[in-house]
Symmetry: C2
Subunit: 206 residues, 2 copies
DNA sequence: AAGAATATTGAATGATCAAACAAAAAATTG
DNA sequence: CAATTTTTTGTTTGATCATTCAATATTCTT
């Protein structure tokens, strides 16, 4: 009995609840994400959440993990398809602006998580992990062209611009997905010397 | 009696409450900002808030306005002291990273407001106004060097990087105020041609 | 200083929501 | 099929917090 037999139902319900939480999260944001609503979205009764999870925080945490996982898997997939370093850079940038979710509601949801991360060390840990991963991906693309301080600076700039564009998306819904991606790539190219661009295998000029 | 005689007390209390809200906001964030705490911070009893304001939202809104106003006034002051366009660019960047408030708590607080702006059209309006002002300030600095699409791109990049750096500050408290400012200016310089930099009156090279 | 107007208090109200729980329903097992 | 375990439900509890309000205190007017 101690070695709990993980029944199928248990795993199914957990996943259903996490997916339901994710759907509510992307449309209502963290603020509108109540236990009752999550359960309703999953088509289950309100009490069920406490049965499968330690509490609301538990679901939320796993939901954010789930969200990060699909994002990172998508980036990994794009990276495998890329050939030149510049292609991989493009893959990272595109992966950080998922076409399906780059909208005001999702941007806002993600923003709420960033805001919550200050109070919640678990979220903060997830976020640091995500940033480290991004930095290391970027480093591997940019190393053929940059080193030392300029490499560090480029990594910071790219990361910061991604965050900033998401934040703007939450604020005024202004810049479309394609414009955001194009802008990112154009700006990265703009602070690289012609020789450095060649080192990354960038073919098409701006 | 209809033409309400605005007694001093009324104005004093309103200001006290807004300042108190601002202090709580910068240290506790939007989440910890309860009516009771605001009043306590102001050294008044909990009921008083409703006497001078329509409700909590009202105080919050005016508090955000107050926050924006001191930020913009500080930038305006710096701009008056600047001579070359590059000086004015520096003034804008420095003004957007107020030394006293560029810390994790304040960054988080500001982030919560961005998150709330999606639900609250009033906040969204304030934010759009702030962004427009920033864009117009930047345009006036950069026009001697850039035009058309490149000008637009530069304005977007600078704005987006400011937001992104604040967001990072909320997340990991990593980049210090001085590093943030230095990074911003270095990156701006990096995507300007030597001739464009000269047009802005930039004296000291990186 | 008396009385009117204004300012302030602190407790009560009501709404929201997460979490706990007891009991019912369904599934599984012997 | 009866016993037992798993799953689900709907209600209740307790906490937090904005808002209201009647009562009290202070200030102003004449």
């Amino acid at each position: 009995m101690n070695a709990r037999k993980r029944s199928r139902i248990e795993d199914i319900r957990r996943e259903e609840l996490i997916l339901a939480a994710h759907r509510v999260f992307l449309t209502q944001g963290l603020a509108g994400l109540t236990t009752a609503r999550i359960c309703a979205e999953a088509g289950l009764s309100p009490g069920i959440l406490a049965y499968y999870f330690r509490g609301k925080e538990d679901v939320l945490f796993q939901m954010v993990r789930y969200n990060n996982r699909i994002l990172m898997e998508d980036i990994a997939r794009r990276l495998r398809a890329a050939v030149t370093p510049w292609d991989r850079l493009t893959a990272i940038v595109e992966g950080n602006f998922p076409a399906a979710n780059y909208n005001r509601a999702a941007a806002n949801a993600w923003l709420s998580v960033c805001a919550a991360a200050t109070a919640n060390p678990e979220y903060a840990r997830l976020q640091r992990y995500f940033y480290r991963r991004l930095a290391s991906n970027l480093a591997s693309c940019l190393k053929p062209a940059l080193t030392g301080d300029r490499l560090e600076a480029a990594i910071l700039t790219v990361g910061v611009m991604i965050d900033g564009l998401w934040l703007r998306r939450a604020a005024d819904d202004g810049t479309s997905r394609d414009r955001a991606v194009a802008h990112m790539l154009a700006q990265i190219a703009a602070f690289l010397e012609p020789g450095e661009q060649r080192a990354l295998g960038r073919s098409a000029p701006a």
